[in-house]
């Protein structure tokens, strides 16, 4: 009798044991584990979508140990270029010394902007890589498109990173100066492979071209406000232009103009501050009241605008030197306004929660014009025709002839404060406020956080 009791009880006690192991497999509820996140076509597409919210720089989404910040295309890629590319056309009055150091071309290696944008850019590259690593799960019907978008995300970010964190690309040279690390696979675990080194500038550009040209062939013609084949082509035109590969830049721009179906908006002022894409937008960051790069301590409007309820207290003033670039009657001049502080401000970024233009059709005309001029060709149109098209929309009379200076000036006026300035100055090898185009001062530091944690990363000369 006793033995039976013992047997029954022992059984009762220990039967529970094997059943308990799966009780330890607890799934989180506010987030999902990577197994689930990558378990279906729809889920992989969800991961891809997050890549756009990252390059859009949504404010305040970091909960993974990196700082909240680094607004990429949502703000900082623009501000880096315009502030550092300043040669007396604007002033920085803001209290954020991180931006002030960019403006002064006097960065330190632990500048928070240098750190945050680096971190978020690679965070997004990891998102793109994760999508690419799991591309086989994606439904066949959309697989090429999804793959193309992921490649575009990676390619365009590597291009921006190498322009910001490395010495400029020198056409016709070896370009073996350090670029940025190229990471091509998604991270599933931190191991030795996480301790990457910088590739050369040439290698980075090669990777960018490979990503973008592949993306161009994979993507559809239309894809809402997400990337499509023309977005890749337009990005390529920028890359080629930066490399002074004018023929390729011209052909890419021409493809977008002739095949893309985009149209210039009739009034210049209507190009900006829109809640949805215009016919001219090739790629714009979609913002609204809940998704934006910030309205009080970050974001383009915060620093450029100075209107009731929009912007801080007028951090970026436009100086007369810039206003003097425009002819009388230029509608682009009329877009400037006098802010609440009594100083001129650009009207391009003047309304919270509206889209941020990253690439628009006008740039393609200007690129085609410049490239045609430099090559002595007239692919698509003559340089003069393209320039007059742009002038015409700005309410100006046609020019009778246009030389390179005219074309570059038109570009400067048309694309002012859209993030092109520094890169245009560097590729045309002009001094910036006394700094030579290839000055070490105009290269961002590899963030100290990164060099501290990864000894394989070589720092830039100045830091």
């Amino acid at each position: 009798m006793k033995k039976i009791y013992i047997a029954i009880t022992t059984l009762a006690v220990f039967l529970g044991l094997p059943a308990c192991d799966n009780k330890l497999d607890v799934e989180p509820q506010q987030s999902i584990s990577s197994d689930v996140a990558l378990s279906s076509s729809e889920n992989v597409v969800n991961v891809l979508i997050s890549g756009y919210s990252e390059i859009g720089g949504q404010f305040g989404t970091a909960s993974d140990g990196r700082p909240e910040g680094g607004e990429l295309f949502g703000a900082d890629f623009n501000l880096f270029s315009e502030l550092m590319g300043n040669d007396g056309e604007i002033t920085w009055n803001g209290t954020f010394d991180t931006y002030e150091d960019v403006f002064d071309k006097d960065l330190i290696d632990d500048n928070a902007l240098a750190r945050d944008n680096w971190m978020r850019a690679y965070n997004t590259i990891n998102i793109a890589n994760t999508v690419l690593d799991n591309i086989d799960i994606v439904d066949e019907g959309i697989r090429s498109q999804v793959r193309g978008e992921a490649l575009w995300l990676r390619g365009t970010l590597l291009f921006e990173l190498v322009r910001v964190y490395a010495l400029p690309y020198e056409a016709g040279e070896a370009n073996d100066q350090p670029g940025v690390p190229i990471v091509l696979t998604g991270t599933t675990q931190i191991d030795e492979s996480a301790f990457v080194s910088r590739a050369t500038v040439a290698e980075v550009y090669q990777q960018v071209l490979e990503d973008l040209t592949t993306a161009e062939t994979l993507m559809e013609e239309r894809n809402g406000f997400f990337a499509n084949t023309y977005v890749a082509t337009a990005t390529l035109s920028r890359v080629y232009l930066q490399q002074e590969n004018y023929a390729a830049a011209r052909d890419a721009a021409n493809r977008v103009i002739t095949e893309g179906g985009y149209q210039l908006v009739s009034t210049y002022a209507d190009v900006f501050n829109n809640a949805s894409n215009t016919s001219e937008d090739i790629f714009a960051v979609q913002q609204n009241s809940t998704f934006n790069a910030g309205t009080s301590n970050s974001g383009l409007q915060t620093f450029y605008a100075n209107l009731p309820g929009v912007g801080r207290d007028g951090d970026i003033d436009i100086l007369q030197k810039h206003l003097d670039l425009y002819e009388d009657g230029d509608e682009r001049l009329e877009l400037f306004y006098v802010g609440e502080d009594g100083q001129p401000k650009t009207g391009k970024w003047a309304s919270n929660g509206t889209n941020i233009q990253v690439m628009r059709l006008a740039e393609m005309y200007l690129t085609r014009a410049e490239a045609n001029y430099r090559l002595g060709t007239t692919v698509g149109a003559t340089p003069l025709e393209d320039i007059n098209l742009i002038r015409d929309r700005a309410g100006l009379s046609d020019l009778g002839s246009a030389d390179l200076d005219d074309i570059l000036l038109e570009r400067r006026r048309e694309l002012a404060f859209e993030g092109q300035r520094l890169h245009d100055l560097k590729r045309t090898k002009q001094d910036v406020n006394g700094f030579p185009y290839n000055s070490d001062d105009m290269v961002f530091p590899i963030p100290r956080r990164e060099t501290d944690v990864n000894p394989n990363l070589e720092q830039n000369p100045k830091y």
Binding site: L24, A37, G65, Y122, T187
Partner: protein, 991 residues
Amino acid sequence: MAQAQNRTISGTVTDQESDEPLPGVNVILQGTTIGTVTDIDGNYQLEISGDNPVLLFSYVGYITQEIPVDARTNINVGLSQDITQLNEVVVVGYGTQIKRNLTGNIAQVDGKDIENIPTTSIENTLQGRTAGVFIQQGSGKPGQAIKMRVRGSSSITASNQPLFVVDGIPITSENQGITNNEPTNPLADINFNDVESIEVLKDASAAAIYGSRAANGVVIITTKSGRSGKTQFNVDYSLGYSEPSNKRDWLNGEQYNELFDEAYNNSKEDFGFEPAEFFGLSNLEELKDAAIPGWRDNNNTDWQDEAFRTGRINQLNVSASGGDDKTRFYFGGSFTDQEGILIGNDFNRLSGRLNLDHKVSDRFSFSSNFNLVRTQLDRVANDNAFATPLQLVALPPVQPKIDPETGRLNTNTVYYNGLIQHRDATANTVIYRTLANAQGNFKITNNLLFTSKFGLDLLNQIEDNYQGRETQDGAPAGQGEFRSVRVVNYTVDNYLTYTPVISETNTLEVVAGLSYQQSDRILGSIQARGFPSDAFKKIASAAEAEAFTSLGSRFSYTSVFARANMQFFDKLLVSLSGRVDGSSRFGEDNRYGFFPAVSAGWIVTQEPFLGGSNLVSFLKLRASYGLTGNSEIGNFDALGLYQGTSYGGLSGTRPISVPSPDLKWETTRQIDIGIDFGLFDDRITGEIDYYLKKTDDLLLDVNVPATSGFGVVTQNIGKLENEGFEFVLNTQNLTGPLSWSTSLNLAYNTNVITDLEGQIITSGINRAEEGYPIGVFYMVKYAGVNPETGDAMFELGDGSGELTNDYSAAMEQHVGSPFPDWIGGMTNTLSYKGFELSFLFQFVTGNQIFNDAGSFQTSGFDFFDNQTADQLDRWQQPGDVTDVPEVRFLGGNGVDNSTRYLYDGDYLRLRTMTLAYELPDRWLTPLSLRNVRVYLTGQNLLTFTGYEGWDPEVNFDGTNPANQTNNIRGGRDFYTAPQPRSLIFGVKFGF
């Protein structure tokens, strides 16, 4: 001539004093392994043989009796209780042991020692009573979280709080409060008048049976159970008051004007222009008119008095205990209402408990404990908010409390007038807590007991907050927040207890079983703005939702545990224990951990060479070694996670963490060597312990290259150590009509971080750094005032010994620790003819306190804040020797973080004192009363300290601190309320 044939002896064993039957008494035939155990009615039956048989009756807590059988067949025995402390029953994990036989280190506090102490939370009553247990209330606000460190801090990122076990069930003890206020304390839901005893398991041998959650020690709380017999009622009512244990001296209105003007003029001279120009104004009077209107009117407002009040305390406890042979019950009901010493800060708790024990048959019994509690906490804003009462002290005394123009609370104060918050804002936290368990005991054989236990801890907390339209954060149209948290935490334990009869001097007890615990937490909250008027406080009337969320989370543990206690020849003790824990929190590659411990003891006084000595009546040497773990980290730190995001109105998911499949618990290896002794027939007893705790595999957030897409990953990296001594001494100084006993405990602990892979983790001026104790203070050293210039001076800190007035040129240094090295307490109890006086002194020493608010309170009028009275001693002219720098408005003279605001945190406190009188029986009998006790109890009546702030028992952890912050940050004062000084008068009737 004795007979040699077999025969059967039977009888009943009872408690000699109460005549209650004693179940479970060992009855053994001396010199053999023949024996049995009494049943629930105290009956036994034993077949014996042999010559001159002698029976041994032994029972935990009673004196063993040897009785020659002679010719009898029926032997009834009355056992008397062994009142020496060595035979006290000590609750251990999944069982009990007598203190004499312990080989581990356990501190015990008797429930009756903590009855009626006018405080809110049970840990608080343990202060000074348990060696090596550091307890710190962060502030004098009731119901706030309390820091408890058993033998030092053993973690940097995971929690350092011990595991709390109530009646065998691990309970929810983590903060569940709103994120914009200081953490609250779920242990405040426990009515400590229901508590029979509290045991703190300190060494590995005692704690290892709780495995991966035992590295910080385990606190076992056992509630009272019923005693059979006539039902006994106790009614206990007390009332009293509390007030701040200390107030600080501030400048009055006249002094304010004088020093402010002086500071302004000093700066005007330094700057070469009017400091008013910074505000767009032209001179001193214009500035004062603009910033501190009222300064001309001879106001003298004592803002500190406005923040404090005298709080009332009301406590009612009713209990009933009784039952028969089969069923016993304990009922405890209590109502506690405590007004805090800060305006608007109240705590009340209503608790009902029913503990039932029922014997179904000789083999089967069950018990059930059921406790329902309602706790209400009326909160004030966190210490770092203008809205909190004590920040009123920053307001200039020259400004009136009531605006003479409007007749209402002054809204023109230089900072927000916190009295408006008191008038127009409410923050109520109501908690419903159910602690329940059901236990069945089935005796499979006389030696084998099967126990099955189910325990539930249900915590339901609702916070309902409203800030009116005139409050700082509620403007312009009111702001409300509703937040609800529910934590359902249940445990299932099944275990066997095997106690074979070997012989009277060789015993064995084996416990082995399984445990499963699961805790689910859900939270929902909504914040909204825009109410039609302040009469509408519910979000139904709000115009616009500002924030809303709902969250859910779970963790689970599945465990196997075992322990064997062996006793050889009544003098050698060996204990083996261990637990295998599996936790959902850990990586799949390291899901299960094994935590074994071994300990041994030698009762030297059982040896012939010491036996019978009256000088050394008891001596035991013991040693233990074992592993315990710490798994108090985030529930999903091991997983690679994706989180929701959106773009252009479409949702997406993005990776936020990378898998860390190797992630596991922190492991603490602890060695403990101790001596237990009794001298002069146990009139003096004591314990001396040495321990060394080495913790490795510290759970740390480690920075990784961001090129991976991730910033940090939680990994097991790093090591730290705690080492210390503990001394306990209990003496009966006087016995007889006047009796006097003393209980003293002292403990010394050093903590050092031995490896962090070079990382330095900071929380402001506290940091975790290799080679230093956790939380070490790191700042510039203040070097007094230059007598020629009145400048604050700092040590350069470069080894040169030179001083500088340039703060930025001075280097930071390691300057102190927030945790004490020596802690202790001493209780004295004197009694004479029904009078009893008991008082507990408690102290800490060796720690420092930094007053973060010093740069506002003691800043030489760096801004408009009222200043501490010591600023009257400021430097005024060359040759003045003082340590208060020249006052300079906006001049920043010595206001940066430096040791100027760092103080020694030593204190000695008369923690609890009770004077009681037990009415003599001859008065009671005619009234049919069993006993009547009247008492006066005081808490924090005296404090001796060098600290210049309100209270040396202080720490402002900030709002919603993460474990890591909580661990590293310490010894910080920021407008933090002092402990209350309370006095209550009570009467207890027993009938």
